[in-house]
């Protein structure tokens, strides 16, 4: 094993979140295609997303992955195009993590709240 620093962690999280979002996309293509069998089939399947607690956790993870992947994507663009960007890569990694956590607070209340009886479904 290699003991990388922030740059390596940012890259690992970027890869994992990217592949995770891609896997969700496959599931999403299938659930959207169900409309072809009529509204009853579609509704029966998509209700699972709202009703099952485990699916709410999975959606929360999905949004976390999308948020991190986008914020870190901006970090990579800045490193690529701003000649001084590399000097701030570590700072920008913490920035991307911070923004992700911040944006996940309302997401958590809305998505996970109903499971714990905090927010309305």
């Amino acid at each position: 094993m290699y003991r990388g620093r922030e740059g390596m962690w940012s890259w690992i999280f970027h890869r994992v979140s990217g592949v995770g979002v891609l896997l969700f996309l496959f599931i999403h293509i299938v659930d959207t295609a169900l409309i072809g069998w009529g509204p009853d089939v579609y509704n029966a399947v998509t209700t699972i997303y709202h009703e099952w607690a485990i699916f709410r956790f999975l959606q929360f993870t999905l949004i976390a992955a999308v948020l991190y992947h986008s914020f870190n994507g901006v970090r990579i663009i800045v490193i690529d195009f701003w000649p001084k960007g590399f000097q701030y890569q570590r700072l920008m990694f913490y920035g991307a993590m911070g923004l992700t956590v911040l944006a996940l607070i309302p997401t958590g209340v809305l998505l996970l709240g109903p499971i714990f009886g905090i927010a309305e479904r």
Binding site: G7, M8, W11, P83
Partner: protein, 232 residues
Amino acid sequence: MQVTCKIRRYNPTVDEKPYFSVYRAEVEPTDRVLDVLNTIKWYEDGTLTYRRSCAHGVCGSDAMRINGRNRLACKVLVRDVGNRMTIEPMMGFKVLRDLVVDMEPFFEKYKAVKPYLINDEPAPVTERLQSPEDRAKYDDTTKCILCAACTTSCPPFWSNPDFVGPAALVNAHRFIFDSRDQRGADRAAIISDRDGVWRCRTVFNCTDACPRGIQVTNAMEEVKRKLLYDRA
């Protein structure tokens, strides 16, 4: 002080797979990790194998993984790694024995980027002049000692040994940004290849590993921007 040193050993003619040997050595806190290895080899186990030459951070022979990070054993002090250390060979190259890896693929890639000045014009009576500003453009990348610490710390290189790697790109940068050189296009063709500079994923392990303090990732980013803007 007494240090405990765990070293990854492998002799392909005898061992089926690598294993760790643990040694204890009495050294000074101001000794270097290379001194620890020497103490072990000279007084305890003569079969321990590693490369070293100048022992002063110039020849680049003794790059290895010290506590998980690529470092030159001759530039790391014992007091900075503590009294427990794990030493392993660099990743991504075939281990020939213990801490010695096969550097041939590394030097092949180095040669591929034509790391020398190419200028077909007849040489002037005096030297080829260059302004201090032009000289400064590639100053950082002149410092490379070809120890391979950067290339073997690079995740894209571990997964794709065909990737030309940070070290070769640093040396390409040194000549691409030299105003006296005329063959930038030749090098651009090699490094914009599918196994060229675009394999860099800005992991920054290379910058952290460089014992000469070269901003390796930044050098690769400068090469990427040049390729992009020259094409536009």
